[in-house]
Amino acid sequence: MVWQFSWLLLAATVQAASLSLQSPRFTISTPDATQLRSDTLSLTEKPEPLTLGPTDTLKLTFQITESDEGKGVQPHQTFLRFYDKASGEEGIQPVRVTPGGKAKFELNMVRPPASIPPTTHNPLEVSLILGSFVHAPAQYDLFELYLPASRTPEHPDEASFHVLPAIKHTFRPEQKSPPQFVSAVFAATVLSPWLVLIGLWSKIGVKVPNLFSLSIIPFTALLGAFEVLLVWYWVDLKLGQVLLYGGILAIPTVFAGKQALYATGEWRAGRK
C-alpha cells in the first residue's frame, strides 16, 4: 500500500509539472527569401491549411516551457509527426531542442527529409509530440499541410520489370560481286597458268607411251571417276552419298592402282 501511495504521489508531482508550448510560429518562404505566409499558431484552433510549393521552405519555431514556472526546458524527446489520414502513412521527424527549450525546424521541399511520408493531393496532419522522463507527455495538433505530390523513388530493379524494346538485328550489307568485266578479266588471268602449264609440258615433251596400255588405263579412269564424283558432290550430292560412293569406288581403284603401279615398276626395272 505504501508503495502504491508513493507511486501515486510521484505521478501527481509529474502531472503538476507539465510541459507547454510557447510562441509557436511558422513561416513559409520561397527560395529567394520572400515570405509567402507567416503567422503564430494557436494551440486551440488550427489555422488554415498550409500549402508548400515544390521549392518553398517551411520554418517552424517554438519554445517548450514548464507550465507553472515558465522556464524553458529541453524535453527528452521531441517529434513532429506527419500523418496522412487518407492513406494511413505517417512520418516521424525528430526536432532538435536547445537546453533553453527553443526549437527550430525547417522543411525545405527541394530536399525533403526522408521521414516525410509519400504525399498525394491529401493534406498531412502535422502534430508535435513531446516526451519526458519527468513531465507528462504532450501532443499538439499544429496544422494541416499540403505538400506537392511526391514522386515515388524508382526501385533499383524497376527497369527489369518492363517490356524490353524489340531486338533489332543489324546485318552487314550483302556483299556484292565485282562488275562482270572485272570478274571475266580475273577469271581469264587465274586460268592463264593452264596455258603456261601446257606450254611447258609440250616444250619438255615427256612421252607417255603406256598411258593407254591395258594395265594403266583402268587406274587413270578410276582416278578420273573420283574427280567426277567430287564435282558431282559440288553440284548435287550430299556428304553421306559422296562418302558411300567414294568408298565403293575406292575398292576397284585400289586393285587397279596396284596392278598399274606394279606394271610401271616392272617397266622401270626394264623387265618387260
Binding site: 572485272v182 580475273f186 593452264w194 603456261v196 602449264l197 615427256v206 573420283f226 558432290y233 556428304l239 603401279l261
Partner: protein
C-alpha cells in the same frame, strides 16, 4: 661484295649474279631428267595459280570467301603434295627414300590429292 677494286666494271655485282643464275639455269636444263621437269612445270603452275588468286583476293574482293579459300588451299595443298612427290621420285634422293619406290610415292600422291580435292570441293560451297 663489290669492293672499290672492281669498280672499273660497270656493275660487277649484277653481272656476277647474272652469270651465277644463268649457270644454274643451264645446269638445271642440262642435268634434270625430263620427268622431274614435268613435275617442276606443274609446281610452277600451282604457284602461279595460287599467286593470281591471292592477287585477286587482295585487289578486287574476297567475296565469296569460301571459294577463295578453296581455290587458294587447293593450290597450296597441291604444291605441297607435288613437291613431296618430286622429292621422293628424284633419283638423286634415292638414298634418302630407300624403301619408298616411285610407284609408292605416286600412289601416295594420288590418294593425298583425292583427299585434298574432297576438302576443296567441300569448301567450294
Amino acid at each position: 661484295m663489290a669492293g672499290p677494286k672492281s669498280s672499273s666494271k660497270p656493275s660487277p655485282a649484277s653481272s656476277e649474279t647474272y652469270v651465277a643464275v644463268s649457270t644454274l639455269w643451264k645446269s638445271y636444263l642440262d642435268q634434270t631428267p625430263d620427268r622431274l621437269k614435268f613435275i617442276d612445270a606443274f609446281l610452277a603452275f600451282t604457284v602461279l595459280s595460287g599467286v593470281l588468286q591471292f592477287v585477286y583476293c587482295v585487289l578486287v574482293t574476297n567475296f565469296p570467301f569460301n571459294a577463295f579459300l578453296a581455290g587458294f588451299a587447293s593450290s597450296v595443298g597441291q604444291f605441297v603434295l607435288t613437291a613431296s612427290l618430286r622429292a621422293q621420285v628424284n633419283p638423286e634422293n634415292r638414298s634418302e627414300f630407300k624403301e619408298v619406290s616411285p610407284e609408292r610415292a605416286f600412289a601416295d600422291f594420288a590418294l593425298g590429292s583425292i583427299v585434298l580435292h574432297f576438302f576443296v570441293f567441300n569448301f567450294l560451297g
